[in-house]
Amino acid sequence: MRFLYLVFSLILCCQVSCSETSKEIKIGFVEGLSGPFANIGEVALRHLELEVEAVNRRGSLPDGMRITVLPFDNKTNPQEALLAFRSALDVGVDYVFQGNSSSVATALTDAIAKHNRRNPSHPVLFINYAALDPALTNEHCKRSHFRFDADVDMKMAALTEYIAVREDIESVYLINQDYSYGQAVAGAARSMLKRKRPDLSIVGDDLHPIGRVKDFSPYIAKIKSSGAQAIVTGNWGSDLTLLIKSARQMGVDVDFFTFNVGMTGGVSTIGEAGIERVHQITNWHANINELTRNNAALYRNQHPDVFEDAYYGSVRRAVRMLEKAMIESGGADPVSVGSALRNMSLTDDTGLVSMRGDNHQLLQPLFVSKLVRVSPENGLIGVENSGLGFKTVAEIPAEKTRMPTTCQFE
């Protein structure tokens, strides 16, 4: 009997030490993978898996470490996200990726900071690739949170710079989702437009429940009767495609200034009607330069059958910077990787990007682009097999996007 115990404990010992030597880095993708925003979550997951595979193929990580991506469904709901984070912890994730919905991100950033305080031996880093509420890098900032997309204020500053020079637009209508992010978009649009274009009138400012409105036609009727020339919206996922769908069906003739229209479904919903009228402010689109076109083609080749095209520049930047930080710190320990990430710079396909040390916000060039017809002649590539794609109309250098911050890490 004693002998058996000995054998068992030896086997256990070996297993522990064996797993120590070829460590697997676990990224928990805690995202809405069911419900109205499931398709957006799946798109981001495919982006993440593509980049992680590239890192593993390069074999660049120290000690032959490899990264695995484990998806957890947070149902785009803060409470569910905390449960999903629990189950992610149970399988031992070191990094949490999330981006869809700032209310989920706020819940997660709190939970992760609390977890790190209580479990200093197994800390977790939060990689936010798309949750844009400015509070996350200001009054609500946490040392364990890093944001790789530009926040609402940075994007709205860039977008309003462009609207300011478009003197043909005299009235805009704001329609946004009724939660921290949508309210931030509406607030930023109001204050920045007032300053940059005092003559422009904001003829409407609507907040609607997130993910619940299935029929936007009452809102469109309201926009129509307000006589607005342009709609400014931060909506994403089905809230954006359904809005555009209604607008198109009712033949509303306005310019769209959006944060996310390049996301899956947006362009194919508006179709030809959106040419020269639909704009977006993003950190990436396919037609910025040769490198971005290559990256777009890479995504398409990897996923020939999926509906969407490459969209998230922030996911690639996050994975590439994590890779660099792991190489620099010589391991996957989230604390040392976190300190390597601070003030780190990296040259990506759109130019130099750098992580601010004072609030963990990535500075990167931003692009205002508009929907145009694409063809082999003009050298542009399209999205969603629609024959339409984006073309840059204004570029904002990374350093210009820097905003003052109130962040003070604990």
């Binding site: 799946e42 609607h208 129509k224 009712m250």
Partner: protein
């Protein structure tokens, strides 16, 4: 004026869709006393079946096939599910349909995945029917209204003018007598349940592509359907019709009202400082409250008139 007319049309089309959904529920309830919690799931099944059959046969055959398929699923549910638990009373039936809603949702997850499916409005209906002032009115919405009204008329005729309708109405009030006269009442129940589900399925076929076809769609409409039935009066088709149109109107028109309590108190010369603690709560506009209003109305109705607008029974 333009806004009013367009919104009126929108509210009509939404209200009629709601009616298509709730008529089946109220029919089943009045007939069998079963509050079918899975009713909205049959609406979802209708949309998914239409998507799937539409891929093979196109939209028009799917418009007929999908509700029939949903009806068959409903008939099977009644024959092998509800009828078995019937002897354990209403609570068992209620729990059965409640569980069924979850089972259907999970099955939809398994077959079609968690993301929305690309179920589109057919090209033959994807055009502008007419232009009112300068707002275009999509043909598909008009088509939806046409189908709903046609369905309402057909339902009314079947229930009041045909032999089947007479047996159904008789079984509603005097099941034992109908049974004694030699009619197969359990089969009548099965037919009614299947018919109610098929109506929900038809609503799904029409609503699925106008809005969005995803596994959450049953949950999204589930609660509003109950509001319609409670408001209209349990088991009353006419009540459900009025309540559907009413809720359609409330939801679409309230979006337009940017009034808040701040404006109300401002009428009396009270101005509240934006810094005050009350400001946040009072500045909520009616348009922001739009999604809550039907539920508020239901609560009010339950307080003032528990049997609903046209309901006949008190409980």
């Amino acid at each position: 004026m333009e806004f009013f007319l367009i919104t009126l049309l929108n509210s009509l089309s939404y209200g009629l869709l709601l009616f298509m959904l709730s008529s089946g529920l109220t029919l089943i309830f009045s007939m069998m006393g079963v509050l079918n919690f899975a009713h909205a799931s049959f609406y979802m099944l209708g949309a998914y079946f239409a998507y799937q059959t539409g891929l093979v046969f196109g939209f028009w055959p799917a418009l007929f096939l999908a509700p029939i398929l949903v009806g068959i699923v409903g008939a099977i549910t009644e024959r092998y599910g509800l009828r078995k638990v019937h002897k354990f009373g209403h609570v068992a039936e209620l729990l059965f349909t409640f569980g069924l809603a979850y089972v259907i949702e999970e099955i939809v997850h398994l077959i079609w995945g968690r993301a929305p499916v690309d179920y589109r409005i057919p090209e033959s209906l994807n055009f502008t029917l007419f232009t009112l002032f300068n707002t275009q009115y999509p043909a598909y919405r008009a088509f939806m209204m046409l189908v709903s009204v046609g369905m309402l008329a057909a339902l009314f005729l079947v229930l009041t003018k045909t032999r089947i309708g007479m047996i159904v109405q008789a079984s509603l009030t005097h099941p034992d007598m109908v049974q004694a006269l030699g009619h197969n009442v359990p089969r009548v129940f099965m037919l009614v349940f299947a018919g109610g589900c098929a109506l929900a399925g038809l609503a799904g076929v029409l609503g699925g592509n106008l809005f969005i076809t995803e596994p959450g769609m049953a949950f999204a409409v589930g609660s509003i359907v109950f509001v319609v039935v409670v408001l209209g009066g349990m088991g009353s088709l006419v009540g459900a019709f009025i309540a559907s149109l009413l809720i359609g109107a409330i939801q679409t028109f309230s979006v337009a009202l940017d009034l808040s309590f701040l404006d109300l108190v401002a009428v009396f010369g009270v101005n509240i400082d934006p810094g005050s603690t009350w400001y946040g709560g009072l500045s909520i506009t009616i348009s922001q409250m739009a999604p809550v209003l039907p539920y508020l109305l239901m609560v009010l109705m339950l307080i003032v008139r528990p049997r609903g607008l046209m309901g006949t029974r008190e409980s």
